[in-house]
């Protein structure tokens, strides 16, 4: 997740530079405005990222008349433009992390004879709580807020759908997990 974040900050800066050369602090301001969403970049992170991009030949520095490091303007190279294009055209690898955790929980509950429905209901309540909060924030916010909240909401909704589906199949799953009528269930799962 960390790597992804760093990677995407790099590409985000590259993308911002495509519209024209900028100073470092300009880049930070633009980034915060558009992508910040409560997590602004440190200057240090900006400069370290730019340094890496510089090393890889994706940006170059144009010096302006005057002194000091702040007078450095960064411009994107053609290699940088190609990289941005490649990144945009590549699909992200879906991250099924939540399901695997929850799945583990559900299976564990079943194995230990606990009520797996309770696990799911608790998770649903929690998801809905978060979704209510996001919905409230969305209702008060501007378009950017709405889109970002919706992104989260759709993901949470997908999780919830999975929860419903699992809840509907708990009996089947229990049979398989605890080995009762295993042959029959396995037969259904692997025809």
């Amino acid at each position: 997740m960390c790597i992804v974040a760093v990677m995407s900050v790099g590409f985000a800066l590259l993308g911002l530079l495509e519209s024209g050369p900028r100073h470092g602090y300009d880049l930070k301001r633009s980034y915060d405005q558009r992508f910040g969403q409560g997590r602004t970049l440190h200057y240090g992170q900006v400069y370290s990222t730019l340094a890496r991009l510089l090393k890889n030949g994706l940006v170059e520095v144009e010096s302006e008349p005057g002194d000091g490091p702040d007078r450095k303007r960064y411009a994107i190279t053609s290699a940088g433009v190609t990289d941005v294009a490649t990144w945009l055209s590549q699909a992200e690898r879906p991250e099924p992390y939540l399901q695997s955790t929850l799945y583990t929980k559900v299976v564990l509950a079943l194995l230990t004879g606990r009520d797996a429905a309770d696990v799911l209901d608790a998770q649903r309540a929690e998801h809905l709580r978060l979704m209510r909060e996001l919905t409230r924030r969305k209702t008060g916010g501007d378009l950017a807020d709405q889109l970002v909240c919706d992104y989260a909401l759709f993901h949470l909704e997908a999780d919830l759908r999975w929860l419903e589906l699992t809840a509907a199949r708990l009996d089947q799953l229990a049979g398989q997990v605890t080995g009762h009528a295993a042959g029959q269930v396995v037969g259904q799962v692997h025809p």
């Binding site: 979704m131 909704e157 919830l160």
Partner: protein, 230 residues
């Protein structure tokens, strides 16, 4: 009758209802408090609509009691329950609820006219609600000439026009795309808040349920109710 703040406005106790061999409700209990938005969730066929119809006095349970503002619905006559639905309740369904021959404005005015309000006054109020739900432009069109989203907004306006204390909504966005569904829910919930109406919202869409204050899950005719957080 005056209710203290903690008394539910509408309560179902231990409802049982079978359609032939299908047990649609199996000891279902539910509380609805004044002004709250309660989501009824659960897989399809679990008994959500049946429970809603029992709460609204459309169906009478085999056993169990439904009380509204302290009055036992099953002790009322059919016409008393009809009168209650006319004056205290509002309804939004998934589709097919607008009278195709009437204009949208007349559709919205219908509950008021049924309650005996004069035509002009009823249509005046209806026009206000159409505007509030951003569909003033379809007022003179028939439902068949309006889009699905507009139709649902008209239906919501109709549910609100008689200023009911409870609005029953059965999959109100079920036939809409997400954008239209979102907008209908936003307008609906905001208007319900303003009029102080409680909403019983049947839905299987979590994003729609997220407009509620609380959810209850129906499974196999039984309700798992979330505690009311004051």
């Amino acid at each position: 009758m005056v209710n203290s703040a903690n008394d539910p406005l509408l309560a179902a106790d231990d409802l049982h209802l079978s359609f032939g061999s299908t047990q649609a409700l199996n000891s279902a209990s539910l509380r609805v408090y004044a002004g709250e938005v309660l989501a009824l969730m659960g897989p399809s066929g679990s008994g959500k609509s049946t429970l809603l119809h029992c709460l609204a006095g459309i169906l009478t349970p085999d056993t169990g009691r439904v009380t509204y503002a302290g009055r036992d619905l099953s002790a009322m006559s059919d016409s008393e329950r009809s009168a209650l639905r006319r004056t205290e309740f509002g309804f939004v369904f998934q589709f097919g609820q607008l009278v195709p021959e009437l204009t949208c404005l007349e559709n919205v005015a219908l509950p008021l006219r049924l309650a005996g309000v004069g035509r002009r006054q009823a249509q005046g109020a209806a026009a206000g609600w159409l505007a509030r739900l951003e569909v003033a432009d379809v007022a003179q069109k028939r439902p068949g000439q309006a889009s699905g989203g507009q139709g649902q907004r008209v239906a919501v306006a109709r549910a609100l026009v008689s200023r009911p204390r409870v609005i029953f909504a059965d999959e109100p966005t079920g036939a809409l795309d997400s954008l239209n569904g979102e907008r209908v829910m936003q307008l609906f919930i905001a208007a319900a808040r303003d009029t102080g109406a409680a909403v019983v919202l049947v839905t299987h869409e979590p994003r729609v349920a997220a407009y509620s204050g609380r959810e209850a899950v129906v499974r196999d005719g039984r309700v798992r109710e979330q505690e009311y957080a004051l």
